[in-house]
Subunit: 591 residues, 2 copies
């Protein structure tokens, strides 16, 4: 049985040393006073809840799944207690707006909490994650009335959130949705339509469920410019703000899925349900993007969380499992066989997992730092830089991080050999759970199209220049670069290759509208590998002069990354250079 | 719901044109008379059974799974009828020894049958696959008495086979097994021990189940040199050769697995069960390898079969699903959106799937041709060449083909977006099913170690030279090479890189015993990508002067492969060059 321990040491390392996050916090309004005691209390307490209360539910919850019984959804045993712990500790309010009872903490701290909760059990973690995302959208776009009615209840966890976008015929292309909203006599609307894939859309853990539903007003322009967002509560709050009348919508079915089986994925039927407009009419997609950009980063974090769990299990299995002998002779002659750590191919798998996970952890905190700067800095130049980097790196954080997380989870299963395929060991569940992170909140192909289209071609590569500027500034600030040259040189070479590739994509896209899509995923991978290389340089720089085991492991993993994983950019660049012709030459009816 | 159609056109193309298999057959003893009518009857009849009888069971069978009830195993409904069809048509006897009622057909034909059966339903296909493998081992190593008692019944499908290797503490390292065999007064042995992961180890579809069990004799030397193989039937044949006394072993449990849920994976408890020695005492591992080498190729074929099913579904979904618009404007302005085929990134995924599947299909027939030459040729030089190529390519066929098959199945799921995660659509099942092919019959890491160790370093790269010799001979025989230069050039460049890499591995391994394991999987991938490139050159060469859609698709896919997939060898070569140091620098307690 798997035994998840929150990776507190590495989280502390990233925050305190690798990315100097305290310095950042103390430079921003709101966080001048954020001190180590507070941060440590949050991290270690969350680590306890994740490891002791949430993770122990995960395996059994996957077996139990969810059941729809007369309109109610039964979720696995154990979730109720774990959720109550989250609520009691105020864990759903961490990023919330303090005006409405939120704790207003920086994302670069809350992101680490996200990782621990998601790493402990992704199915469970989706519930607070969706609530937090919905709160963000309501806080950013909702009226004061909506905010004061809903936010405090949602920050407390008493009420949860859900996002209702997809319809049977409309996933990526939300312009096709058919759900309608008709104005009623008061300030509300009657929402009618069917939504699918609604995560935690119905359940009994919270007293109320607040759906953010995309729908079209009667006068809506066609396509994605005609979408509005509505807040549709399961129970309409009464005059005291308590759950009142049951709204006219219900869960019509639960999907049977490959993974995240312990989270209900609902078909929601809205039948003239009362809803309130959030934001401007026809601007619902923009409003939803506030939530989706947040969710996209957290989906990337989910990947790292699950991949960390897989790594922990794999290392512990590799230590205990005795099979074969070291290539240089018996390592443990007193035993009938050596453990798996003697086998170079097993070490390759474990190091790949470790190199990708730790870079991923640093990367999500790096992106979170820029989110915090964009939101909380008073320095306009830094804000502009931060907005550029958030725009550039959000699709990478979602797409690349989850692609690597799936790769890691598959490796973690492979380390177990045949036992990796057996459910009780837990590794195959992590593969099944992680797989969804590549699909939902915009498939990774869609992320890549966003990166290459809106973020690269449309900006003539300027956002990437901002990123390279940050790397250059970091390298320029390093004392005694020679000591780190085995990391700096490959990183800089990869950046040059990335810049050449970017330039070529921007140039060619002017005449070739197939190009961006044809090379999108390869380009996203290139950017991702370079970002992770930068994280590894920063890790190695942070441990200079430190000869602890922790520091030595960082250095060894950094070298491994540069020598074994970063070279993927060579192939990716060649694939991009090959362009769109090989993809478009195939006629439709030849497939 | 998925709808599998056996890929008969492509199978015919590979056999008739791409790999000129008739010419081969007619050059071998036994197959001088194998004519097109016979072959066509076999292929098309098998295609019907696969598409109409087996495939329709697959989805529901995955949901039903298997149940152990008082020692009996209930398998999904529908399997009994499908299995009866296989038996009635003599499909279990195709490769069997004609002396005992087998049809003695060449592997390069039977392999295509394997693909169709496995592509239709992998859980089901494992049953005839294990029987055929067990028959091979009995035929090659068993006494005449064993052969005449068992083979005919097994070829007919009335009796099925199982292979019992793994024990809870002994998987890859079979030297650790504890199952014991004590000689009895007659020529039999009493076998005692527990085996796990025994596929189709217990069920009711066949009248008898013949287990090939690895065990140790009392005087066995320690380790893998002390393993013997025993034939242990569920029912001991009586004097008439009919199932008689129930043997002393039973199924003690079924594993709950990630995939292939419709195949029972049994814990088998042997409690003094009567068994008969197959082959020499202490030479059981060699005897088992006859079976395992066969199974390894068929596991590779399983991968291609499942990946083909995933491709068919993905193309059909991409044609029907309307979402978004082509980057150059509406392709189907009369509809509310274009289908997915307009999106370059979707085409990239479909072409990757197609390029890997079709190369895989050609490759398994290519390897099968060499198996046939090794077995049936009277030309000693060709036999020697064939044995070298079978030795070199078997691990590649298992390891590389299944790694690519999993990649394809994941892409085929991705094309479906959110629906790919939902069980009813079938794509996620193919991911779960395909995953096991990377693990069982020796993990893909173990395959790679075999390739780099015994097949490369130990032969000083000579087996690879034989392969390169075959490629060179083919290229030298091509008329008008310029027409194919866009394929020949990258293939030859990749071969040069592979040779340099091979040379470097062989050289360095003399002083560095960690090297082979550290680079094994990367090297296996390099060899695999080169093999597939060779297959694509042969496909393109076979369609020269043909301007049908089929031929045009082959050319387009060949170009895609060379430009988009083969460049992976660049990165792989760099990873190999990086050697073992980055893998070994990490100390055990740093993980």
């Amino acid at each position: 049985m798997p035994d998840y321990k929150a990776p507190l040491d590495d989280i502390r390392f990233v925050i305190e040393r690798q990315l100097a996050t305290y310095e950042l916090w103390h430079s921003l309004r709101n966080f001048e006073d954020l001190d180590k005691n507070t941060v440590e209390a949050i991290l270690s307490e969350c680590g306890k809840i994740a490891g002791d209360a949430i993770a122990p539910c995960s395996r059994e919850a996957d077996e139990q799944g969810c059941q729809l019984q007369e309109g109610n959804v039964a979720v696995p045993q154990g979730f109720a207690d774990a959720y109550q712990l989250l609520c009691d500790g105020g864990w759903c309010s961490l990023s919330g707006n303090p005006e409405y009872g939120g704790m207003g903490l920086p994302k670069s701290l809350v992101a680490a909490v996200d990782e621990m909760v998601q790493g402990a059990c992704m199915s469970f973690g989706l519930l607070p994650m969706l609530t937090a995302g919905a709160c963000l959208a309501i806080d950013a776009h909702g009226s004061d009335a909506l905010k004061s009615t809903y936010l405090e209840k949602m920050y407390s966890g008493a009420w949860s959130g859900a996002m209702d976008l997809t319809e049977p015929h409309a996933g990526t292309d939300l312009g096709l949705i058919r759900t309608r909203a008709e104005p009623l006599a008061d300030d509300s609307y009657a929402v009618t339509g069917t939504k699918i894939f609604i995560t935690w859309g119905e359940h009994q853990l919270a007293e109320n469920i607040i759906h953010l539903v995309l729908a079209k007003l009667p006068d809506a322009p066609a396509g994605s410019r005609g979408i509005s967002m509505f807040l549709v509560p399961k129970y309409i709050p009464d005059a005291q703000g308590e759950p009142g009348e049951r709204n006219r919508f219900s869960c019509g079915g639960l999907e049977k899925k490959m993974g995240i089986k312990a989270s209900p994925t609902c078909v929601m039927n809205f039948d003239g349900a009362r809803g309130w407009l959030v934001g401007e009419p026809h601007k619902g997609l923009q409003a939803m993007f506030t939530m989706m950009n947040y969710e996209r980063l957290v989906v990337g974090i989910q990947g790292v969380g699950a991949a960390e769990a897989s790594y922990q299990n794999a290392v512990s299995y590799a230590r205990e499992r005795l099979q074969g002998r070291s290539p240089v002779g018996a390592h443990s002659p007193e035993k009938e066989a050596d453990n798996l750590l003697v086998h170079p191919d097993v070490r390759r798998m474990l190091l790949t997992m470790r190199a990708l996970n730790e870079a991923g952890r640093a990367f999500y905190i790096y992106v979170s730092q820029w989110l915090d700067i964009a939101k909380f800095s008073d320095d306009q130049q830094r804000k502009t830089q931060a907005e550029a980097l958030v725009a550039l790196l959000t699709p990478v954080a979602k797409g690349f991080m989850t692609d690597r997380a799936f790769e890691v989870a598959v490796l973690g299963q492979q380390v177990y050999g045949g036992h990796g395929f057996i459910r009780e060991w837990g590794q195959e569940q992590l593969v099944r759970d992680t797989r969804i992170t590549q699909i939902y909140e915009g498939t990774n192909g869609v992320q890549a199209m966003d990166l290459v289209g809106r973020k690269t071609v449309a900006t003539h590569g300027q956002l990437l220049d901002v990123f390279v500027g940050d790397v250059d500034a970091f390298v320029a600030g390093l004392a005694n670069k020679r000591e780190l040259s085995s990391l700096i040189t490959p990183l800089q070479q990869a950046i040059v290759l990335l810049q050449t590739t970017t330039h070529s994509i921007v140039q060619q896209s002017a005449d070739n509208r197939f190009l961006p899509g044809a090379v999108a995923v390869d380009y996203q991978d290139m950017v991702g590998y370079v970002c992770y290389a930068y994280m590894w340089l920063r890790a190695a720089a942070a441990v200079r002069g430190d000869d602890s085991d922790f520091a030595s492991a960082k250095r060894a993993t950094a070298e491994f990354y540069m020598l074994k994983l970063l070279p993927q950019v060579d192939t990716l660049a060649r694939r991009v250079v090959a362009g769109s012709a090989p993809v478009m030459a195939m006629q439709d009816d030849w497939f």
